[in-house]
Amino acid sequence: MAPLLEVRNLKTYFYTQDGVVKAVDGVSYDVNRGETIALVGESGCGKTVSALSILRLVAEPAGKIVSGEMLFDGIDLLKLSKDDMRKMRGAKISIIFQEPLTSLNPVLTIGRQISEGLEFHKNMSVQEGMEEATRLLKMVGIPHPERRVYDFPHQFSGGMRQRAMIAIAIACQPQLIIADEPTTVVDVTIQAQLLELIRNITKELNTSLILITHNLGIVARYAQRVFVMYAGNIVEHGKALDVYHSPCHPYTAGLLGSVPRLDEPRKARLQPIEGQPPDLIALPAGCSFQARCAYSVPQCLKEKPVLTEIAPNHYAACWVSQKGLREWQKQ
């Protein structure tokens, strides 16, 4: 069956006074129906920008989707008119943002913000919208929903605001939800609540989910397939189990090695990745990770590696792993 979403060679650049920031530089991924994939990477790797690009929410004029294809259910999202794209947002594809405090309108009740989408996409009246909003609040686990639907965002706690955001996102029963760092700002116990909730809901509604995060633990628990991003490119992707157990890119291996694990005996010293992420305006020729890589060979400086299949359904963009020289696995 064809994937629900296919992103092909997406390039999104930002034109600033200091130069061109190549935030997303030729990224391809796909999401199947009912599947949860994860876009993992650190700040500046382009994961958020690529998700905003899908919804064409990149801030113009500075930001621009330069090239690529984004096929959603066969429709190229880049070729849609602005009106048609607006009909997609919230109805077919919706997004949960990282910071509910700034993503919610402080002067509208929670109920109205949920029903906004319903009024626009499903032609409901305000009354019907509010009733549905109440039902949705109950679904996301907010106690006394019939009362809380009239509350304002500042009357909700951080965790509850995120639940409200989830309610807004699922209101029109979209086929795809993008969750951009949905639990970064909440505590660990609330994070557990929210992620379990998101998992249950996506299972119940058979919605696909793109989970964007830098937290390797969350990815391991909730995603079936993983796409690892670095400096605007995907450097590795595959099934979560494969990527975690046999990483094919030094960056992935480095990340996994530098994170302390609660279930393993305590290591005497962590293995960090040395150096800093590169400046996206002045990316080096060749591999962007080379400067921090302990395994680089001369070819890494000259040519930028492309994603190749290293193992069945497991791809990496690295000259060293393509040549079968995966020394970092010997731990």
């Binding site: 116990t189 633990g217 391991a220 800093q276």
Partner: protein
């Protein structure tokens, strides 16, 4: 047992909530820290974990007297710091330093790196001229930065590098104790490991004690010798590190540990997560009895009536929970 360098006894900080047009009358207190006691030993790292609103940051600031506690004692070098005036604290401050969470806010944007690191030296009039420059260069190298970078301004450094500057600044006066307030939360994962290693190395080298405040349990486990778990201004459990992670006694600690996903899909597929109900209550209106009881999955009738006392459960492991209190008079 190593000697204690800081002893905290029944520390409390209440923030009054006032209302009124002309005269601000107090209607309630936000009990940010409500009776906390523990000891920090020489050369050890004491981890302080808890979620937002538990009071860990306020507690840290109270220890350093950046916020003056409402009651309780902070004993350092035989004196109660709470009793000392700001002026009397100045020489003491040289020995108790702090690293902040936000690498963007904790450095004055108008100071060069050299100015920032050297500020403690200037305030305490410690060195001048060549001696000063040498010391600053030494500190820069100690944290892994090149000496020429001393001319640069904070906005020219990355987040991880700014934290290194903050650490160098904290070390300038060779303190005995450094309070680390979530020093790596704002950094990228790959940089976090660098800073953790740096803190570790510096402790090996200088024997400085850390109070490591964090909400990240995996990191705390890596760095700490002992761990204190806080919830809503009170201590729930204290234990040495291995014991806490292997055998957590308090239901809150158990839930906290269970909530941390392990970066391994095979493990996660089989693991059950304890999902707590409800939200953290407001510190203005804490629950009666045990503050954790409304969310506790092992609560029973007494929990809403009696406040559990932090008691020894064997081998230095202390827990405040009615489940472990053998008898009540």
């Amino acid at each position: 047992m190593a000697e204690a360098i800081i002893e905290i006894n029944n520390l409390a900080k209440y923030f009054p909530v006032t209302r009124g047009l002309f005269h601000q009358a107090k209607i309630a207190d936000v009990k940010a820290v409500d009776g906390v006691s523990f000891t920090i030993h020489k050369g050890e790292t004491l981890g302080l974990v808890g979620e937002s609103g538990c009071g860990k940051t306020t507690l840290g600031k109270c220890i350093l007297q950046l916020i003056r506690p409402t009651s309780g004692e902070v004993i350092f070098e035989g004196r109660d710091l709470c009793e000392l005036s700001d002026k009397e604290l100045v020489p003491v401050r040289a020995k108790l330093q702090m690293i902040f969470q936000d690498p963007y806010d904790s450095l004055d944007p108008r100071f060069t790196a050299t100015d920032i690191i050297g500020e403690p030296l200037r305030i305490h009039n410690i060195s001048r001229g060549k001696e000063y420059n040498d010391r600053v260069a030494e500190l820069l190298e100690l944290v892994g930065l090149a000496p020429y970078m001393g001319e640069r301004y904070p906005h020219e450094f990355s987040g991880g590098q700014r934290q290194r500057l903050g650490i160098a600044r904290a070390l300038a006066l060779q303190p005995q104790f450094i309070m680390c307030d979530e020093p790596i939360s704002a950094l990228d994962v790959s940089i976090q490991a660098q800073i953790i290693n740096l803190l570790d190395d510096l402790q090996q080298k200088f024997g400085v004690s850390y109070l490591f405040i964090s909400h990240d349990l995996s990191v705390v486990r890596h760095l700490s010798d002992r761990v204190v778990v806080m919830y809503l201004g009170k201590v729930m459990e204290i234990s040495n590190r291995d014991e806490l992670y292997k055998n957590p006694l308090h239901p809150y600690t158990q839930a906290l540990l269970s909530a941390v996903p392990i970066p391994d899909p095979a493990v996660e597929m089989k693991r059950q997560v304890i999902v707590l109900q409800g939200e953290v209550p407001s510190p203005m209106n804490p629950p009666s009895g045990c503050v954790f009881h409304p969310r506790c999955y092992r609560a029973f009738a007494d929990c809403s009536k009696n406040v559990p006392v932090l008691a020894d459960a064997g081998g230095g492991h202390q827990v405040a929970c009615l489940l472990y209190e053998t008898s009540r008079p």
